[in-house]
Amino acid sequence: MVEEIGNTTEGDLIINVGPQHPATHGVLHLIITLNGETIKKVEPHLGFIHRSIEKMCESLSYRQFIYVTSRMDYLSSHINNHACALTVEKGLQIEVPDRAKVIRILMDELTRIASHELWWGAMAMDLGAFTPFFHAFRERESINDIMEETCGARLTMNYIVPGGLMQDIHPNFQKRVKDFLSLYKSKIHEYDELITGNIIFQNRMKGVGYLSPEDAISFGVTGPAARGSGVSCDIRKLYPYDGYENLQFDEILETAGDSFARYMVRIREMQQSVRIIEQLIDNIPEGDFQTKTKAVLKLPKGEFYTRVETARGEFGVYIVSEGGTTPYRIKFRSPGFSNLSALDKMARGEKLGDLVAMMGTLDLVIPDIDR
């Protein structure tokens, strides 16, 4: 008798992964139905870090609500702040100085490198290799130092605000970024030598967790996870913001759709981020870092939506304004939520041991999913 995959039948084993589990990168709870060692169904169970951020934002002013978004996807905090600032600027119809735009992109791309590095270390650790974690944090710490010097924080920056930036960059910023780039370029080959070319690693990644382009689109998967399936979805290319249209960089696409393809997208994306930073670091225009805005911001009545590309995919901010000083409703479209929904599709029919590799390549940040 052929069993229908997806329905629980007698003899199936149901196991729980999480909420406290090192491979879930937070507090995600997965209820997995197994037949022997084959996965029949994966049910993600959310809400263990639901902090009601959207509801909270309704009682915060347009300057205040940005700091909460740093805590959502804390690995792309600059990019989250950027999206919120763009939405408020769209509502206020103010233009940001060129200097602020360039610094914003520099910060975004540095954040993207830092995020992908942490992903790389954590991903290798999920598969049992501990050393890459130290290599990843070696480079990540130097980015954190740059951030700390300019923004005052290592992780939750709150640096990009409506109208520009919180403050000007530190005088050492350009020198430190150039130092980082030369350090990074001298070390990047270690990543490939240690992990990418490793035959054990490749055997665990190739052909595992296939996601077809059609499924990726229908689940709303974005970011590197979708680009690994060949779906072109880079917001920086399709709907450029703050001057991405003037920059030379490639949208990375892989067509295999398996875990290794998603891995390669992120590895190659880091090099594109380096390319973007190199184009801008010597060309930061002089001028103000902020336009003059009123002390209390009031958005006109209406609905505003902007999207940006975070390290995980498309992040959207939707503000409904009634004309007051606080938003009537805020909705965040977080990339992690849609990416997680495709996990069930990817995992069905695969072995339990490969589930961690699939989850690793989705690069989940749980507070981003639960909000």
Partner: protein
């Protein structure tokens, strides 16, 4: 004779030499506490942002293995100290209590970051955040910050070591 002088110097207040030498006296509890404080195994437990700084502390730059914390355990049954790194929400609170109950005695708790201390940035206007992890489990050391710097976490871990050596953690006071 020279060796014994060194011993009393290494364990101030814990190892006493008798006049004339030869015999070393100490309280067994002090020796056990000293041994325990230098081999604390943390639980890999992180709910949100502070978890990344926790990972930084485990990384090579800050390196908490210098103080005996490197054996991070994924199972609460093997862990000695739970570092609450991140916000605890209502749905997570029973899970945290269960994790704490599963840990073997003696067990210690560090509340890392503003969220674990008081709810932090999520104190006002939220319906789902527990306003401080000490509503759920007893906490020994609090670290301020959002998120705390890695140095601050290391300081907290060393404060915990001192508390254990002095027999001042909640578990030890409760046990008498």
């Amino acid at each position: 004779m020279v060796e014994q002088t060194n011993i009393s110097k290494d364990f101030p207040g814990q190892v006493h030499e008798t006049p004339g030498g030869g015999i070393v006296l100490s309280k067994l509890d002090d020796l056990i506490n000293w041994a325990r404080s230098n081999s604390l195994w943390p639980l890999t437990f992180a709910t949100s942002c502070c978890g990344i700084e926790y990972m930084s502390v485990a990384g090579a730059k800050y390196d908490f293995s210098r103080f005996g914390f490197e054996v991070a355990r994924a199972s609460p049954r093997q862990a000695d100290v739970i570092i609450i790194a991140g916000t605890i929400v209502n749905k997570m609170a029973p899970v945290l209590k269960r994790l704490y109950d599963q840990m073997a005695d003696p067990k210690y708790v560090i509340a890392m970051g503003a969220c674990a201390i008081s709810g932090g940035p999520f104190f006002y206007n939220t319906y789902s955040v527990v306003k401080g992890a000490d509503h759920v489990i007893p906490v020994d050391v609090y670290v301020a910050g959002c998120p705390p710097r890695p140095e601050a976490l290391i300081h907290a871990l060393m404060t915990l070591q001192e508390k254990i050596k002095m027999g001042m953690t909640r578990e030890q006071i409760k046990a008498g």
